[in-house]
């Protein structure tokens, strides 16, 4: 996988790495290189991701997967990583109902240590200023 990540990155196709992750395929998690916003994680609208059928809201665990996915994309973008970085912990705030629609997420590096990175991630749907969820997470870099 090391060579694949590095190779795809050098070809400007970092987003294609996501296609190697079975769980991302299962949920409909993608990666998007937006000309204005940069690298984004996207969770495609899928009825199978609904966790609350009454509210028609996406399952909180799936939203968590999106947030973690966005953080991993940001880490791949910043570092020459051999594989999928290990998550140490994640703390998720669910801010609004996550409706059955495409959901976007972007991570921001807060603090990069030698061995551990701290990232902040936000997820939104139609309006970026109204996030549906946010997280901060630690990842092992080594």
């Amino acid at each position: 996988m090391h060579r694949s990540i590095q190779q795809l990155k050098s070809e400007g196709r970092l987003c294609d790495v996501v296609e190697m992750i079975p769980y991302a395929q299962f949920l409909g998690l993608e990666c998007l290189n937006d000309p204005d916003l940069g690298l984004l994680a996207v969770l495609r609208q899928r009825p199978t991701n609904i966790g609350n059928p009454i509210a028609q809201a996406v399952h909180g665990g799936v939203v968590g997967a999106l947030l973690e996915h966005a953080a991993i994309i940001e880490l791949w973008n910043r570092f020459d990583m051999e594989t999928v970085p290990k998550t140490v912990n994640v703390s998720i705030d669910y801010l609004r109902p996550c409706r059955n629609a495409d959901t976007f997420a972007q991570a921001q590096m807060i603090r990069q240590g030698r061995r551990v990175a701290n990232l902040r991630v936000e997820a939104w749907q139609s309006d970026r200023d109204k996030p549906v969820a946010a997280a901060h997470a630690h990842f092992l870099l080594a």
Binding site: I21, P22, Y23, L27, N52, A65, V90
Partner: protein, 127 residues
């Protein structure tokens, strides 16, 4: 399997849960989903008048990698329940609760049924 204030769920390993194709480790989101589900279930079971629950926040520590090919168990218990909010603690493990792969703390908002029990509240669910 559940009783008021406690629940245990089992999730069998499947290839579509893999987050690291080299090691076969499940994606962190799989454990997030298992723990959010079992914590929500516990919050629902805490009192007979609960109509709907919504996760406010969920914090997970990944203590060690889950073993590829092995079922995961998610279990949770109510730490404290108030009128509007339940505080839940949970673990994910491979069958030995003293050797968890992850543990979590969830804060879950509770919406209670109307007195007549007839109507469901407006959905404000977040998680």
């Amino acid at each position: 399997m559940s009783e008021p204030g406690r629940a245990l769920m089992r999730l069998d390993y499947a290839d579509n849960q893999v987050g690291n194709p080299v090691t076969g480790y499940v994606h962190g989101g799989v454990i997030t989903t298992l723990l959010d589900t079992v914590c929500s279930l516990v919050a629902m079971s805490a009192s007979p008048s609960v109509a709907m629950v919504a996760t406010l926040d969920l914090r997970i520590d990944y203590l060690k990698p889950a073993k590829p090919g092995q079922p995961l168990f998610g279990q949770a218990a109510v730490d404290k329940e108030t009128r509007h909010v339940a505080f839940i603690r949970g673990e994910a493990h491979h069958g030995d609760e003293d050797d968890p792969v992850a543990h979590c703390a969830a804060t879950i908002m509770i919406t209670e049924r109307d007195d007549d029990g007839a109507s469901l509240p407006q959905a404000e669910g977040v998680g």
